[in-house]
């Protein structure tokens, strides 16, 4: 029981940074919040909406994303997000770090 809570907290910390990279990686094309949530879920990454939306705002305030409200195909107004030029540069660096990190971790855990 005690360990369950510990593991949950550690997973939460682990996922926090990973989700940011996942979001940046999926916003090469425009997505609105809910479509991004489903896209991430389809790829095997379940993200809670209460985590995703504040994260999108944070990434936008850091200049890594751009967004605007639009009506597409006569649907309701939605806020569309896309990665910014600065976000692309940051993502490229993060990808490199991620590869090195996963390689190192695989070596350690195998």
């Amino acid at each position: 029981m005690e360990n369950d809570e510990l593991v949950q907290n550690m997973l939460l910390e682990l996922r926090r940074g990973v989700i940011a990279i996942a979001v940046l990686s999926q916003l090469g094309k425009e997505e609105y919040g809910y479509s991004l949530l489903k896209a991430l879920s389809d790829l095997g990454m379940e993200v809670d909406q209460s985590t995703l939306y504040p994260l999108l705002r944070r990434l936008e305030s850091q200049g890594l994303l751009q967004s605007d409200w639009r009506i597409v195909d006569e649907a309701r107004p939605r806020r569309y997000y896309v990665i910014s030029p600065q976000g692309r540069k940051v993502l490229a660096q993060l990808k490199k770090e991620w590869s090195a990190m996963t390689k190192a971790m695989q070596a350690m855990l195998s």
């Binding site: 609105y32 919040g33 809910y34 909406q49 209460s50 985590t51 939306y53 504040p54 705002r57 409200w69 309701r76 107004p77 939605r78 806020r79």
Partner: protein, 338 residues
């Protein structure tokens, strides 16, 4: 108003005003998307589906909280100082009240019931004083939290050099705790002198209640505009120093000028009419009345040495500040190559 509107409005209540309408619109849009998908084109969603969706989305306050940065009244960088100052002030209050209780009860020959009542009274006095002091400390620190720049965070971005550890302490560095304590005591002094000057006096426990004699004379209040101005300038200087993080020549000159003004005011107090008022009429009915003939004039004369000591202390401070202004900067004892 439907359930989704009510939910969004409820979340909005806890959102920061600046982004509220934008976040509300995004939550509404997401909820409608989710609902549409769940209804799968079979007409409008049922109320049960809406309820289930909102339950899943989360409790409104929790949802709103996920958007907000952590809001501090007093943040982690000032909290250790806040804790220290609070402990000092509460301990000083306890000490002051206990001493005054001791003096007040020493010669009154109280019964044990009276003593118990006096102790109860003392406890209530401490409680109300402690709450007021705590409130004022929180207020001052909450203001400091908002006016001070995040120096620590800025400095954390800089490249850190272990050679800095070998350097002698910087004589120009500001000690934030000293400045904060100075601001707190100046504010407390201003509040007492302007709002409750009558409480500065001698306290006695007689007839099962506390009585006190105000001791400040009318002449003292002539100096109040000066005291207020100098105190405001001192607070301004302290805030400026906290913001700068280091003593610069201009700040030292300002401190010397300010202290010189304090000395001028103390000399005026010393040479002008007495700032304490203690007459046989004012002590009538107190334990002091019996011994006023012997000790009354002595108490009135005490003001001169106290003012002289204050002038001397301020002169020493001017000397120290002046010396730091003119002395050459110490060279570093050790240089470590990077």
């Amino acid at each position: 108003m439907n359930l989704i509107d009510s939910y969004v409005t409820e979340v909005g209540k806890y959102l920061p005003r600046r982004n509220r309408s934008d976040i509300e619109a995004e939550i509404r849009s997401t909820l409608e998307d989710m609902l549409e998908e769940r209804a799968q084109g079979q007409g409008p969603a049922s109320e049960a589906q809406v309820v289930a969706l909102l339950k899943e989305y989360g409790e409104p306050r929790k949802v709103a909280a996920s958007y907000g940065a952590i809001q501090y009244l007093i943040g982690p960088r000032l909290f250790p100082f806040f804790e220290m100052v609070t402990k000092i002030v509460l301990a000083a209050l306890a000490l002051g009240l206990t001493v005054s209780f001791g003096i007040g009860t020493m010669r009154s020959g109280m019964t044990s019931l009276e003593m118990a009542r006096a102790l109860g009274n003392l406890f209530l006095q401490y409680l109300s004083g402690a709450i007021a002091a705590f409130g004022n400390i929180v207020l001052v620190f909450a203001i400091l939290e908002r006016v001070l720049p995040a120096k620590e965070q800025e400095s954390m971005k800089d490249e850190w050099n272990p050679a800095d550890l070998a350097k002698a302490p910087n004589p120009d560095a500001i000690k934030p705790a000293e400045r904060i304590v100075s601001i707190l005591f100046t504010v407390a002094g201003l509040v007492i002198l302007n709002g409750f000057p009558q409480i500065i006096g001698l306290y006695f426990f007689t007839d099962e209640k506390w009585t006190y004699i105000p001791i400040l004379s009318q002449a003292f209040f002539r100096y109040l505009p000066w005291i207020n101005t100098l105190s405001a300038l001192q607070i301004g200087l302290d805030l400026w120093l906290l913001q700068q993080g280091t003593w610069k020549a201009a700040a030292r000159i300002a401190a010397i000028v300010l202290k010189a003004c304090v000395i001028a005011m103390l000399i005026a107090m010393l040479t002008g009419p007495t700032i304490l008022r203690l007459t046989s009429a004012s002590v009538a009915g107190t334990p002091l009345a019996e011994v006023f003939d012997q000790f009354g004039p002595l108490l009135n004369y005490m003001v001169t040495p106290v003012l002289l000591i204050a002038i001397l202390g301020t002169l020493v401070e001017i000397g120290q500040t002046g010396w730091k202004l003119v002395q050459p900067k110490p060279s570093l004892p050790l240089e470590v190559k990077k």
